[in-house]
């Protein structure tokens, strides 16, 4: 028997609205510690983790750890039927293959029960090591969303640069270039509007804007966003969920050679492609993506994390996941013999390990 009751039901509605376009199907992991999720996006490039700690619920009961596989689109459809002020209850009886969502209006005059079949989803739990990031930016989430949206009208990728002075976002496209800087500012009237930078060394990395825009769909969840970066590590974009947990997005950086960026010279309105770029084979490791075929710079990337098989670190919250940083494997994929050495991939390397996905939840707090 699993049951949770969330008075602020709109939180769950917002979580699903932010996930439904990024992730198709995912396993929710229910344990005594909380309700959590870890899933790759449908093109296997980005990773999402959700944590809602049991203490945050008005009522939380989990007799034994269970995994509930759900289609995010269908779950979002059902949660859309909850009013913004409704109390949401999620219930799953032992031995059934359905989950029930109950929505109660604040006045208790309207009660809705939605029942959805659960799915069997094949997934690996990845151990996400607790990492010290070289640069951490905390800024208003709406501003981050606005910048990503603005830049994507100009280009496809964003270079994020963190220095002591501030954080810069740059792009380049057929019609020109754009460069937005948010200065560190801790002395604003409202601390919600501050841009705060915590860093050991300055970092610059480049990411696909289309993923950044997907992540920014979580903006309604929190007024603030935290962006954590280290060279050669995936970036983390984190939204706190009230006092209960967080929604985190991981995305591997694109690694582009200097000349390649310089090669994208606009002449009038056409992008001139240097012949040297044409010699490069497009790298496609198992990843299906809807990118236009003529964008040579759209290198396909795969985030890969080592799956954890050590059971001590597998149960959510019971044992803190204290993995050494060398546990975190950065793999260069060489899809064809002549690898050009420019892809940073973090690969799930042991799919054959046959780990038990049921009780395998990582706490990365």
């Amino acid at each position: 028997m699993f049951e949770l009751r969330l008075v602020q039901g709109s939180l769950l509605k917002k979580v699903l609205e932010s996930l439904k376009d990024l992730v198709n199907d995912a396993n929710f992991d229910c344990s005594a510690t909380g309700f959590s999720l870890q899933a790759m996006d449908s093109s296997h490039v980005a990773l999402v983790t959700l944590l809602l700690r049991s203490e945050g619920f008005e009522h939380y009961r989990c007799d034994r750890n269970i995994t509930m596989g759900m289609n995010m689109g269908n779950m979002a459809k059902m949660l859309k039927c909850a009013g913004n002020d409704d109390i949401i209850t999620i219930k799953a009886d032992d031995g059934t293959d359905t989950v029930t969502f109950m929505f109660e209006s604040p006045s208790q005059d309207k009660i809705a029960d939605f029942e959805m079949k659960l799915m069997d989803i094949d997934s690996e739990h990845l151990g996400i090591p607790e990492t010290e990031y070289e640069a951490i930016v905390r800024m208003p989430s709406a501003e981050f969303a606005r910048i990503c949206k603005d830049l994507s009208t100009i280009g496809d990728t964003v270079a994020i640069s963190v220095t002591k002075e501030g954080v810069g976002f740059s792009t380049r496209g057929d019609i020109g270039t754009a460069n937005t800087v948010c200065r560190q500012n801790t002395s604003v009237d409202n601390p919600e509007n501050a841009t705060v930078i915590e860093m050991e060394q300055s970092v610059t990395q480049t990411f696909a804007l289309r993923y950044m825009n997907s992540f920014a769909k979580a903006t309604p969840l929190a007024n603030r966003v935290t962006i954590s970066m280290s060279s050669e590590l995936p970036l983390v974009v984190e939204y706190k969920i009230a006092e209960m947990g967080h929604l985190r997005f991981y995305l591997a950086p694109k690694i582009e050679e200097e000349e390649e960026i310089a090669g994208q010279v606009e002449t009038g309105n056409r992008k001139e492609t240097k012949s040297k770029l044409e010699k490069k084979p497009e790298v496609k490791p198992m990843v299906v993506e809807e990118s236009e075929p003529d964008k040579e710079s759209q290198l396909k990337l795969e985030i890969k994390f080592e799956p954890k098989t050590n059971s001590e670190v597998n149960t959510l919250g019971e044992t803190k996941c204290k993995v050494e940083s060398d546990d975190y494997t950065l793999v260069e994929t060489k899809p064809e013999a002549e690898s050009n050495g420019d892809i940073c991939t973090l690969v799930e390397t042991k799919p054959e390990a046959e780990s038990n996905s049921e009780a395998q939840v990582m706490d990365v707090e």
Copy 2:
């Protein structure tokens, strides 16, 4: 000469906005008593009646009963050009085949005249008997609209169940089931928010959600909606129009065998069709509908009312239509020899009666 002047012109704008997608062409009947309309929807499944009593207008003049055939889409286009605060005048001179809509801004500084050709529309006036319904639900119109919209994201039909405790709305679709209950509640702070049930016996009927959603487009007309149901009778969804009249929608229930509903078992995300369902021929009585061919439960229904030829009851409001309940004919259509007896149809049975459609308006108040 016919002329009416409506200070609260937005009412007429809202009426047309609710009708334009449901009804293509319709005859407006103008008599000394009021301005009214009776029309089938374009797929001949639902019936709409509108009544605006003459007393409700600032000015109302109708020298003789006339019928004005109008295309609802075109009329809606013209009324959309009226401002929300405009005074609307409708005028038709004798012997012309046009109608004029005049819109005056409150300051009288802007005056617009729109002229539209009238159409000859072949239609029968149906006598709608004054019926005692077994169950009547009065509830906030926005809540009814929200429930219909929510359920239609899950399924195609809604089973409405009225008991003393409340009214329930249930559906079932590929992704799961939904069941919303509004409890009877007469002691709310604001009587506009009450859900009030008046019933002789509990009733459960199933309807196509796509029609319910069409009806709910009238929500801006009134804060409250009245749903009247009797077993084997069409449901009535009524919106009051200020102090002037009403907009009513009639829809015949779908009659489905128990096994049929049970046959729609979802397995994962696919709907499993029991072979017994495939043996049933799809019933199609003169009705063209855009439903998907594989939904066996989408039985085609036709509402049929006996047309009234008795002139005493035909003139709007002059003689109250006191028809006995056995006047109301429930007809089983048998499109092919092997009728499976599961359609509740109310058929317009005397199209050959050559009734004079001009002065034939029913008052069903």
Copy 3:
């Protein structure tokens, strides 16, 4: 070196939003007097002029007259990235072929630089003579926009009629006719809502509604619009831009024979085309338009202005352009031998004059 700084950056955002659908590419002319633009719409039927006087900017520096060719869509994309409260700086260094837009948030915490390549656009500067118009209407811009939008649901063209009593807008289409009159009203509480008519003689002219709707996209720029008309001259629709200048749209009237208008008789829902109309060849002078081929009344028009080659009147604001009214040439184009004499065109007649487009800016104040 050219640099301007506009504290009320939203003005420039609104200017581009109103232009981007009408004009593809245009040359901005920068001189000591101001920042201006003159461009034909993409189908070469309407003419737009923009003037932002140098005094209106917080900072304005223009070392020598320059012309900056820009794609309006791309420029609009970049300006969309400016916040509504941002201060906008436009900068172009000598000898470069790029322009930089800088957006500073009011708090100065966020600064964005957008760089766009300039284009070489072939264009003639037209001398627009200072004309005394026979009728000038000043009215609320929102009301003008609403009327154009409303009428375009009924017909394709609008006949604008100015008399002492007021200004009338009429159209006719398949579904009927519409006629809106705004009465002259100078004694309203709020002068912003007044409709003021200044006229020597009454004028009636017919215009394509699709252009009027394009012009009305400038409505957010100003609460009031000025419509100037003279028989046989293009109409001018003017929006003032704060204290800085204006955005003006010029459109030649359609000239239709009386019989032709009468020929568009609606019968029911179909437009009956008189056979006499079919005998008329459709006039197509170099103009590409997406109008439906069966609308005989959609005559192609071309606005033509004499280009000014007299240098005294060419520099923006330095010498007021005092052209006699006979300088203004109204040309009848005869695309084929059998001209039917019904097109009023104002043609740019001297493209071979090889005028220097750089310093050739007309002040038509």
